[in-house]
């Protein structure tokens, strides 16, 4: 399948300036030779620690900042040159980008005047009728985020770029916002950046792990999940002779499996043998391991001396 979105060799280095004359002392490699492609209908989770270059990558894709090198193509068109292609994309930043002195309805009308769209329809879509006459400055963070999402869905787009949409929200509101976003962007390409691995796992079909401006991993999440992982089982009896599990840390019998079905079969066997299983859980997550492999040790500062960028 032809990729709808394609990034090739994207690079952005920022100068670190200092001294009286603000001369360049070093370069921060915010994004360094990043390439990937996304097919229609795929949801790509972009994950990484704070400051690893996720937002810079998102901004480069939309040409909110100019790349030092590389190209971004959307449906074959160079995004840096085609304003028409940009109209097929919308962007939700972790900033709400709302005129706080306005009411919800006026703010949405303000944006609808710029990009078109039906304000009443989006108010209904987001179920925010009860908020439409309130001033944005009087809303809670979660409500503001809903309005911010409403502006993004004033028009239907082919690609949604969501940069940490749930940052600064409590877990319950985060889940609600995530669900709204996924419901509304169904069947579209979604690029979803987050520093939360589990969130990316929830929303994504594919994963990009960004580390120091480079890609640590890019692939299907399902590929990761098919690798062997450990399941911990707590029981009242010794089960090491019934299934291939050994007693390990935390009082769990540890079973190595490659699919959830294997774990289910082991559980069935235990129940058939009259074993009382008090707890069963996945002890480690392949995504978590991948994350820890990339981030557990501190990396040297991602800067390089002046003149080498």
């Amino acid at each position: 399948m032809r990729p709808l979105l394609e990034a090739r060799g994207l690079r952005k280095h920022f100068p670190l300036r200092g001294g009286v004359l603000q001369r360049t002392q070093a370069w921060v490699r915010a994004v360094d030779d990043v390439s990937f492609e996304v097919a229609p209908g795929e949801t790509l989770g972009i994950v990484g620690e704070s400051g690893c270059g996720k937002s810079t990558l998102a901004r480069l894709l939309l040409r909110l900042i100019e790349a030092d090198a590389g190209v971004v193509r959307f449906d074959g068109e160079d995004l840096t040159r085609s304003k028409e292609s940009r109209k097929r994309i919308n962007y939700l930043s972790h900033y709400n980008a709302l005129p706080e002195e306005m009411t919800v309805r006026s703010a949405l009308e303000f944006y609808a005047r710029i990009e078109g769209g039906d304000v009443d329809a989006v108010i209904s879509l987001l179920s925010i009728e009860n908020l439409k006459d309130k001033k944005i400055s009087d809303l809670s963070q979660g409500q503001k985020k809903r309005i911010s999402i409403a502006k993004v869905f004033l028009n239907e787009r082919d690609l949604y770029l969501l940069d940490e949409p749930t940052s600064n929200l409590d877990p319950e509101v985060s889940k609600e916002v995530r669900d709204i976003l996924l419901r509304l962007s169904k069947d579209r390409i979604v690029l979803y950046s987050s520093h939360n691995l589990y969130e990316a796992n929830d929303v994504g079909t594919h994963l990009i792990l960004v580390r120091d401006g480079t890609i640590g991993y890019f692939g299907k999440i399902s590929d990761l999940e098919s690798k062997e992982y450990r399941v911990g089982i707590k029981t009242t009896t010794d089960i090491s002779k019934m299934i291939d599990a050994k007693l390990g840390d935390g009082g769990y019998y540890v079973l190595n499996v490659t699919t959830p079905q294997e774990a289910g079969l082991a559980l069935k066997k235990l129940v058939e043998n009259g074993v009382l299983v008090t707890e069963m859980r996945q002890l480690d997550n392949p995504l978590q391991e991948l994350f820890e492999d990339n981030f557990s040790r501190r990396h040297p500062a991602k800067t390089e001396p002046r003149g080498e960028s």
């Binding site: 939309l62 909110l64 100019e66 709302l98 303000f110 005047r113």
Partner: protein, 241 residues
Amino acid sequence: MSNGQGVVIAKRSISLSKTFLIIGIFLALLSVLISSLSGLIRYVGTAGIPINATSRGLDLGTALPLVSVAIQVFAAILFATPVLLLYVYDKNNGVLEYFLSLGMDQGDIYRQYLKASLILASGVVVLEVAVNFVAGLVVGTDVLRLLEVSSLVFALALPVVSFSTLIMMSFSSLQKQRVGANQPLGMAIGIFMVMPAYIVPLALPSLAIVIDFLLAAVIAVLSLLTYFSSSRLISREKLLP
């Protein structure tokens, strides 16, 4: 952005700060008063006090309406100042970033805020020119002089407001701190630009009109140069929060 966006941005600016508008109105009234003094002085002159009553023979009847031009221009700068506040506010809240994400460039964004500042400035200029004209007629100022002053206010105010707005938007974009500390600087630039308009009527009264129009032309050219170069000189990332 549609043309109506300039009006929306102007309204948003007013809702953000009304202090500058109040000071602007005060200055506009002051300028009307100063300009009207010329008619009163002329009236006093006919009662036996020479018009050229200053030690250097300065014709206050001619000079005061021209001095009031500079004050009227300053009132226009003050009226446009809330737009600069809004620009900084929108930059910090990610509104400018969102505009860019919709496919606009720096020039498109600057144009809308510039339009809003000109809408606000034009509002006060029209008002003060109208009041000044009527007040001038009442106190007996020469009609030709009133027409000259009125056209000078328009010719000078709009380029000065354009230039100071563009310069301040550029400064605000380049400023690293998330504060709108540029407003005093914007006003200072505006005052500096119209400084000759304060001095020339007193120092070179016979050439004041010509010099003021020349000044307006120079500032208009500077505004255009700033407008066309700012979107090239200031990178897109400077508009991000």
